[in-house]
């Protein structure tokens, strides 16, 4: 389960936050910049930590249910900001794009702001989530076209 797609039905407040954090982490820097300027711009904020890059060990399970093993390390950039309104936003994004991590953290803080959160959830997160789902579906469609059906083996087994 390397590419865990977030559940489409967030339940509690932490599930909702998990959902938007994952959508933000997958969004490109340019998309985040555009969304921010189109939705009221960046608030006054202070960086509490980072953006800073490091390595995390990605662990997997063979077949999704086997023993854990270390698949390898990946580069991750994290950032934590605090807005003037007092919300603290965190972001962990893949790669070394410091600006992407910072923007994602700013969005995370804004989404917790009662004054701006609802508008951003509808205007930004829903839109980005739809785009990302469409992109995934497109990749899956192209991959499915190359899938080889082993009719011969199935026929051998059933006969």
């Amino acid at each position: 389960m390397l590419d865990a797609v977030p559940a489409d039905t967030p339940q509690g407040p932490s599930d909702a936050r998990r959902h938007w954090m994952s959508v933000l982490a997958r969004a490109a820097t340019a998309e985040l910049e555009n969304c921010l300027s189109a939705n009221g711009g960046a608030p006054a904020y202070q960086r509490l930590r980072g953006p800073e890059s490091g390595l995390v060990m990605v662990r997997g399970r063979a077949g999704g249910g086997g023993a854990k093993f270390n698949l390898g390390e990946m580069t991750v950039t994290r950032c934590t900001v605090r807005t003037a309104a007092g919300q603290v936003g965190h972001a962990y994004v893949a790669g070394r794009d410091a600006r992407q991590a910072e923007l994602a953290a700013v969005f995370d803080a804004l989404l917790q702001d009662p004054a701006r959160g609802d508008a951003l959830r509808a205007g930004v997160i829903a839109k980005l989530a739809d785009e990302q789902a469409a992109k995934r579906a497109e990749v899956a469609r192209k991959a499915a076209a190359t899938k080889v059906q082993f009719f011969a083996m199935r026929n051998m087994r059933t006969s």
């Binding site: 202070q46 960086r47 509490l48 930590r49 800073e52 934590t80 605090r82 007092g86 603290v88």
Partner: protein, 197 residues
């Protein structure tokens, strides 16, 4: 971070983590090599109460998840900030701690003094005091000091010389102390001899 999943952090750490941590490390190193020398660290840091910038800089430089930290009760207000910025592991048992942070001298014998096989496992006490410019004058001599040095500290107990004699008597075992006040630090490695001046 084991008992609380939610921590409140409102203040930043080092603005330039690599450069400032290296500068602070050098300051601690020089202070340990020349006991009693005053070093400047932590300029521009805005740590939470009750920490002063020098204490915060030493913590950010030395403490991480591999070095269990023990806090005295007066320093607990800064626990979340330390957990977030240092990634520190905490311990409630002073004897388990690699570093101890205190605002008043704790019972030195309760900290880890190391073993004869591994004296380097002894704890380092980061002690925040009121002042390193004024207060009781101590005369220091020992390794690193060609001639004896003097150090003024406000905030140590009256019987500190006797306490330190007991710590010094166990050499090579014993705790090392980093004294912090404002943006100034000084160190008392376990090898130094302290007398009233």
């Amino acid at each position: 971070m084991t008992d609380s999943t939610h921590i409140e952090v409102t203040l930043p750490g080092f603005a330039d983590p690599v450069g400032q941590a290296q500068a602070s490390f050098r300051a601690v190193l020089d202070a340990m090599a020349r006991p009693g020398t005053l070093m400047q660290v932590g300029h521009g840091l805005t740590p939470p109460a009750p920490l002063c910038p020098a204490t915060a800089a030493v913590l950010l430089t030395l403490v991480d998840h591999d070095t269990p930290l023990w806090l005295d009760a007066a320093a607990v207000a800064a626990r979340d900030w330390i957990a977030f910025h240092c990634g520190a592991g905490f311990t409630d048992a002073p004897a388990q701690a690699a570093f101890a942070l205190a605002l008043a001298l704790p019972d030195v014998a309760s900290l880890s003094l190391g073993t004869h096989e591994q004296p380097e496992t002894a704890a380092t006490l980061i002690l925040q005091v009121d002042s390193l410019e004024f207060g009781t004058r101590y005369r220091l001599h020992g390794p690193g000091l060609r001639e004896s040095a003097t150090l003024s500290v406000r905030g140590l107990p009256d019987d500190f010389v006797a306490i330190w004699q007991r710590n010094r008597a166990g050499f090579p075992l014993g705790v090392d102390v980093v004294l912090c006040a404002g943006t100034t630090l000084a160190a008392l490695p376990r090898s130094v001899t302290v007398e009233a001046d």
